[in-house]
Amino acid sequence: MPQEKEKHVTIDFAFRRELDQIIGGDHHNYCYQCGACVAQCPAAQYSESFNPRSILLDALLGRADVLLGPDSPIWLCTNCYSCYERCPQDVRPIEVIIALKNLASNRDAAPSDVATMTENILKTGVSGLITPAVQRIRESLGLKPLGDYPVDEMLKILPDEGKQP
């Protein structure tokens, strides 16, 4: 027989308020744990350690250690938007996961690809490298060479790189 354990639930409201500040993060408050988001979640089908309902539960409990820690499940999400499609509460679970990823990035706890790709875009205005080989292939297809992108203008509309105002 399983022993009756004493049940303590601690909720970290400070962390939840922090999550509320990120665009889309505030919708975590609407979750009533029905699990509709799980049914068509590919990450849940392909990995036992992933479940969008549990991520939302951890968000409701404010468990920053689980969600932003080194073994956080949030990075397994494939960004497929099935959960957004299914959720009856307008939680938009994927957007909550992305808001959590923002918090992880602010704490330097995101996979290094995220910073690398973002830096590339901020440096050049585009996500890929425009090499002479790229220009040659374009020419062979009869396409114009790629030129400059308005990087200065793009940077001016971002207050301090990476920091939220």
Partner: protein
């Protein structure tokens, strides 16, 4: 009709064959493409949005402002660009305070987001603005006998609250566009499975690509047809990498819809850059050439 293409970065830089196919096929449907200068990366809805949603939204709004200044609706070719730009429009329409916050930033470069231009993926523009008959009318070499397994990709359809393209569970837009060029759309079990590219960790995408290609192989299709460069990167080179890991070889060419359309409009395979793909479409091209030889015999 006149529209401004938003090519994004992945297509012009990594897969310019898709740009070439699009530029060569759209005029045959009666569309005039007006290039606008001044766009940047949309920005990408996976990495950049992961770093900071507000910055992602601000740059997307700036791109939309560039189209507003030109007074032209945008047609997108990449599901990622479509997702970013349409979601940005949605968020800015939904939340007046957020729009103000973004506009305060845009003011520094003399811009203001109004929300006056439409954004749609090219396949949606064809269906809704031109009509699929226009595609059929442009065909000179129908792709008779070619079986195309469709891969929808996630961001054309979901979330339907934002995308408004089709039923997310029972879509038909790509089937209809494939049938319009004379090819046969083939259903398969994993038609709606995510390509896995947005997953930033682990081996999961390998399993997903493996399952998708196993399902296509079982369907007997000659090739895969799709509309998103990110899915393409998972599948063209991706099927080779996954095949090696799993000790199998799929050899299923992956073809962007506008390349298929180009072939049906009589363009040569090199004009739509099929030669640049890792998995060659030789069998299909031979079948098409054979059919033609028979027809003229």
């Amino acid at each position: 009709m006149k529209v401004a293409p938003f090519f994004g970065c992945m297509i012009p830089i990594k897969y310019p064959q898709m740009e070439a196919a699009f530029r060569r096929t759209m005029p045959n449907l009666g569309v005039e493409l007006v290039d606008i200068d001044g766009f940047t990366c949309c920005p990408d809805p996976i990495y950049f949005k992961t770093k900071g949603v507000l910055d992602w939204l601000t740059i997307a709004a700036r791109n939309l402002c560039v189209a507003e200044e030109a007074g032209l609706d945008l047609v997108t070719l990449c599901s990622g660009c479509t997702a970013t730009l349409k979601e940005a429009k949605f968020l800015l329409a939904e939340d007046e305070d957020l729009k103000e916050r973004v506009n305060e930033r845009l003011m520094r470069v003399g811009k203001e987001y109004q929300g006056t231009v439409k954004v749609e993926h090219a396949v949606v523009v064809i269906r809704d603005e031109l009509g699929i008959e226009r595609v059929t009318e442009s065909v000179v070499k129908p792709l008779d006998g070619i079986k195309v397994a469709i891969h929808y990709g996630c961001h054309l359809l979901k979330p339907s609250q934002i995308m408004h393209v089709d039923d997310a569970d029972y879509p038909s837009i790509l089937e209809n566009l494939i049938a319009a060029i004379g090819a046969t759309p083939v259903g398969h079990d994993r038609k709606l499975l995510c390509c896995g590219k947005g997953c930033l960790d682990g081996d999961m995408p390998v399993e997903m690509v493996f399952d998708i290609f196993t399902s296509i192989r079982d369907s007997g299709a000659d090739c895969m047809g799709l509309i998103c460069p990110t899915c393409f990167s998972s599948f063209d080179l991706g099927q080779i990498v996954v095949g090696r890991k799993k000790n199998t070889k799929f050899d299923i060419p992956v073809i962007y819809y506008f390349q298929l359309l180009g072939l049906a409009q009589g363009l040569a395979p090199e004009e739509v850059g099929l030669n640049l793909h890792k998995v060659k479409a030789d069998r299909i091209l031979a079948e098409l050439a054979g059919g033609e030889a028979q027809a003229s015999a």
